[in-house]
Symmetry: C2
Subunit: 159 residues, 2 copies
DNA sequence: TCAAGCTTGATGCAACTGCATTGACATGCG
DNA sequence: CGCATGTCAATGCAGTTGCATCAAGCTTGA
């Protein structure tokens, strides 16, 4: 089942690491330079905003973002302390909670977007034609599909 | 120059993050499960081994790996403490040093490779045909090319 | 109904990262 | 030469992550 990867696959892997690393660094850099919160905050805010007034359970967010449980817990702590989300008790499940975005949260997310978008364009868009972007998107999609994303994290708990 | 990214570019960006994250997690997981050092150690050892007996200057490694200076410095500390590399004084430049791999370093790198290779294959190779892998490799290459990789890190020092 | 086991989320602690700064040397220019 | 400036590498400190564990609530099943 799992044989040795070809040279090409190894190179693609290495480049996946590098491309992501440099793109991420440049985007974090752009956000910081603009005095805005880090990228993760954006993703949380976006998901939570999309979820509407009902909010979102942390474990849902955890899966959506491929983040370890303890990391998400503390990430939400920080965002909450900044006043961008609220934690509410969850009626249906006493263990759980609902994360809801605040007005300030919506505002900061909207403020982050232009900076973020510009950084994406210059880190990714600028280097690719439309067709190339589509091809890249589709190829990366294949990697994600079955790539037991949460598994590496989740299985760790089960062991 | 930097307009708004298209929807496709944004999706590709998001997937780049996700694909890398999940692939990295699964590989780190595999290494840990095998009782081996983390992935970064492998990359350092490989670069240093390739450099031969002359060793490699930290700043060269820094660029090769797209790592921040202080991070590399401490990564090397750890690897050195484990006995896998040595730091030697650099004759040509009194500020600098040369990092040289040890026998133990070579050994552990060789031991890591099969685990690493298998993990790469199952995280990347398995999901792609040969042609797809080539296409992905080439597209990612375009992102890396001009993507001022060190810049986001380096400019920070200059400001 | 109640114990056993699972899921959700938080937290203490150790390791790692980011930032700012420093120390030591190199280089270039008057 | 002698000073200003630049480069190489380390480090103190605060913030973040990973790991292990825990407490609380849900679910199942005898």
């Amino acid at each position: 089942m799992t044989e040795k990867p070809s040279q090409t696959v190894v190179r693609a892997w290495a480049r996946l690491m590098k491309a992501q690393r440099s793109a991420l660094a440049s985007i974090e850099h752009a956000l910081k330079a603009a005095g805005l919160p880090p990228l993760d905050w954006y993703d949380v805010l976006l998901e939570v905003e999309r979820a509407g007034d009902n909010g979102l359970r942390p474990f849902e967010l955890e899966r959506a973002m491929l983040l370890a449980q303890y990391n998400l817990s503390r990430l939400v702590d920080r965002i909450e302390r900044a006043g961008y989300v609220e934690r509410r008790v969850c009626e249906e499940d006493g263990r759980g909670q609902l994360i809801v975005i605040t007005a300030a949260g919506r505002a900061i997310r909207r403020k982050m977007w232009p900076v973020y978008a510009k950084a994406i364009e210059s880190a990714v868009g600028q280097h690719l034609t439309g067709k190339e972007a589509e091809a890249l998107d589709s190829l990366l999609g294949k990697l994600i599909e079955k790539n037991t994303p949460v598994d590496a994290l989740a299985t760790a708990r089960k062991l």
